[in-house]
């Protein structure tokens, strides 16, 4: 049998399909989203993708739950900005396009040094130490005000200095394509590393670090190396962010970002290689776009996160992957009626929920801006009337209950196709045995 790239340790995509899809969508995105603002959003998504994957090197692959991963991102960003400012005036012809690499080296260095002291134990011990390092670095940024630029941060202009390929980095399109290129290179490298002896042993350490010792490996040595690698890619992501934003502030190494990267990885799915990519895109979108429409975007993010943690611990990628066998055996159509039965009341429920939340915000806002009136989907509602609230809540609750028959039916359909797929697999393996 050919040696397939089959991994349960960290589920890896099969063949070139997903990778090609990823590259093509990165290359084609500017044709669809071509405003300058949209291009900046896309660049930040590319940054988030690298950052989220670097986090998953720790969490999904090595089993290290870090609460301070932004430290390496922030340091990478700061080193890159300092490099930008240095190369803008010095005679050293280091191209600006390659400065994220310097951010990566900074991340690698600190990832190694802080890894050495923090990965002796995994689990709670590491989680708490990483949290502590996060606090330490956050406060350090406010103490060393000169180097970190104080509260306002430091600016760096990517347009100055030497450039590669005749780039000037003055337009968002150029910056986007630079970020996309870095993103592809980093994703390819991270993917490559998951398939090496070290990457494979990291999944073993995650699953059962004690037994790894009885295979001749030191779990500590493996964790240090993985922590260093994760630091490197987080540093590159920070450097990419510094070029995109042209500025870096102390919140780049703060808690909020450390929390966000956990949410990205988790929403997307930490057990699947491309999971964090999905999470990074979703969170960036909500953060940058949804926040234009509503102040409640963080609440929606929180709801999504809680939903995923409770109902889909393998994230959105896990939900998709769950359907792969059904698709392979052409059983998907058995699920569709049930899914439709869930989707209709489910959609109404979500709308109702958003309606209530938005109205709540409007009511709260009305105390500040008395003239503000509440509109939802183009219609005006009286947010001070009890009846609006009662009817809204009743519709939402009704829709929630209305989704239950569909859920029950979906469960039945799943049970049925699981049995059918098992039978088909048994048949296939028997045929295999006959021919082989």
């Amino acid at each position: 049998m050919a040696d397939r790239a089959y991994t349960r340790g960290l589920s890896l995509p099969q063949g070139l399909g997903p990778g090609a899809f990823f590259v093509v969508s990165l290359a084609a995105a500017p044709w669809v989203f071509n405003s300058n603002a949209a291009l900046t959003v896309l660049s930040l998504m590319a940054v988030a993708v690298v950052f989220a994957l670097s986090y998953n090197i720790l969490f999904g692959q090595t089993g290290l739950l870090s609460f301070g991963h932004a430290v390496y991102y922030g340091l990478g960003a700061y080193f890159t900005v300092h490099a930008l400012n240095y190369f803008a005036v010095s005679r050293i012809p280091y191209p600006v396009e390659l400065t994220p690499l310097l951010g990566g080296v900074a991340g690698l260095f600190f990832g190694f040094v802080l890894g050495v002291i923090s990965v002796r134990r995994a689990g709670l011990g590491f989680a708490m130490i990483s949290f502590g390092i996060g606090i330490l670095m956050g406060s350090l940024a406010l103490i060393l005000r000169h180097w970190f630029g104080g509260d306002g941060g430091l600016a760096g202009n990517p347009a100055g200095g030497t450039h590669l390929f005749g780039l000037t980095l003055t337009s968002p399109l150029e910056i986007y394509y630079l970020m996309a290129a870095w993103c592809v290179v980093c994703v390819a490298l991270i993917y490559f590393f998951t398939n090496t002896p070290l990457g494979q042993m990291a999944t073993a350490v995650r699953d059962n670090s004690e037994r790894v010792e009885f295979m001749g490996y030191s779990p500590y040595q493996i964790r240090v190396r993985m922590h260093t690698l994760a630091g490197f890619f987080a540093g590159v992501a920070g450097g990419m962010a510094a070029i995109t934003n042209g500025i870096v502030a102390p919140d780049a190494l703060g808690f909020v970002l450390s929390g966000e990267v956990i949410i990205m990885a988790y929403i997307g799915g930490t057990t699947i290689f491309f999971g964090p990519v999905i999470g990074a895109v979703i969170l960036s979108f909500m953060q940058i776009q949804l926040s234009n429409y509503t102040n409640a975007w963080q609440l929606y993010l929180g709801l999504l996160f809680v939903f995923i943690v409770i109902y889909a611990p393998d994230g959105i990628a896990g939900l998709l992957k769950m359907h792969a066998p059904a698709m392979r055996y052409r059983k998907l159509h058995h699920l569709l009626p049930a899914y439709l039965l869930v989707a209709v009341p489910g959609g109404v429920f979500l709308l109702g929920l958003v309606f209530l939340v938005q109205m709540g915000y409007a009511l709260h806002g009305a105390q500040i801006f008395l003239t503000q009136s509440f509109t939802f989907m183009g219609l005006a509602f009286d947010d001070h009337s009890v009846w609006t609230w009662v009817i809204g809540a009743a519709v939402t609750a009704g829709a929630f209950l209305g989704a239950r028959p569909g859920v029950a039916r979906a469960r039945c359909a799943w049970e049925r196709i699981t049995v059918e797929i098992k039978a088909a697999q048994a048949l296939a393996s028997r045929a295999d045995g006959d021919t082989g």
């Binding site: 398939n195 002896p197 494979q200 073993a204 059962n208 001749g216 490996y217």
Partner: protein, 260 residues
């Protein structure tokens, strides 16, 4: 004369006030199949934990091929050629059988912490893992993850991990625990096959397995070796019968009587 494959010299272990292993001396020769028996709580698994570096010694020395390995870490001891299995299943729930065996092989094949070569491109790793999979009879379960294997298959994988990379001293901790008669017989066949020419130290409760497999037997009672010898010697040893075999026989008799 070459030193014994494994030598324990006055090995002691205390947990706080509890003195679990009390001055154990033991020599296991090259190629010998040595069984350790004893009642529950005698310290058999603890002794394995001390030899394999899972716990640190409170006193005494362990020699592997004449080299003092006392105080070495578990992975260092494994690198010196001593491997062990566990009584309680201790495998990788989310790795497949094939991946698990590949991991178990990597160090001995010299790949260490390599991160610049694709594991699929390392021909010996794949070939040896496949061989190993056939030997332990899990060829059909290649892509099944550890958590999804049946109990007997998990035990087989446990042995597969232990023998991967050709260790020359193998410690098996109750490899047939929880198995049916037929499964245990198969497991014994497997153990015979994979430990041929190697030094084996085995803890086992199943007396049929012990007396069928072992060249020599040591009896451990309350942290002390009360007797060492060939199967016949041990079977006929009075103090052993009183301390261990006899007590089981008595229990069985009384249980038998109670059921009537």
């Amino acid at each position: 004369m070459s030193p014994p494959a494994l030598r324990l010299e006055n090995v002691n272990k205390r947990f706080g006030l509890a003195h679990i292993i009390r001055g154990v001396n033991l020599d296991v020769c090259h190629g010998e199949r040595h069984a350790i028996i004893g009642p529950n709580g005698a310290g058999k698994s603890t002794l394995f934990d001390l030899i394999s570096g899972r716990f640190s010694l409170s006193g005494g020395h362990v020699f592997l091929h004449g080299k003092d390995i006392s105080g070495h870490s578990a992975y260092r001891i494994r690198r010196s050629g001593l491997a062990r299995s566990f009584q309680v299943i201790n495998i990788f729930p989310r790795l497949t059988v094939y991946e698990t065996l590949r991991c178990a092989l990597l160090w001995s094949l010299g790949y260490r912490y390599n991160f610049w070569r694709r594991i699929q491109r390392l021909p010996e790793v794949g070939r040896r893992a496949t061989e190993l999979m056939e030997i332990i009879g899990l060829g059909a379960q290649r892509d099944v993850s550890g958590a999804e294997l049946s109990y007997a298959d998990q035990r087989a994988l446990e042995i597969g991990i232990t023998i991967a990379g050709e260790p020359n001293v193998i410690l098996l901790d109750e490899p047939t625990a929880g198995m049916s008669r037929a499964e245990a017989e198969q497991a014994v066949q497997l153990i015979r096959r994979v430990t041929a020419g190697k030094t084996l130290l085995i803890v086992e409760h199943d007396m049929e397995v012990v007396f069928g497999l072992a060249d020599r037997i040591s009896v451990l009672v309350y942290g002390e070796v009360i007797a060492t010898g060939g199967p016949d010697e041990i079977r006929n040893n009075v103090s052993v019968r009183r301390a261990y075999l006899g007590s089981t026989a008595e229990q069985e008799t009384s249980a038998h009587a109670a059921s009537h």
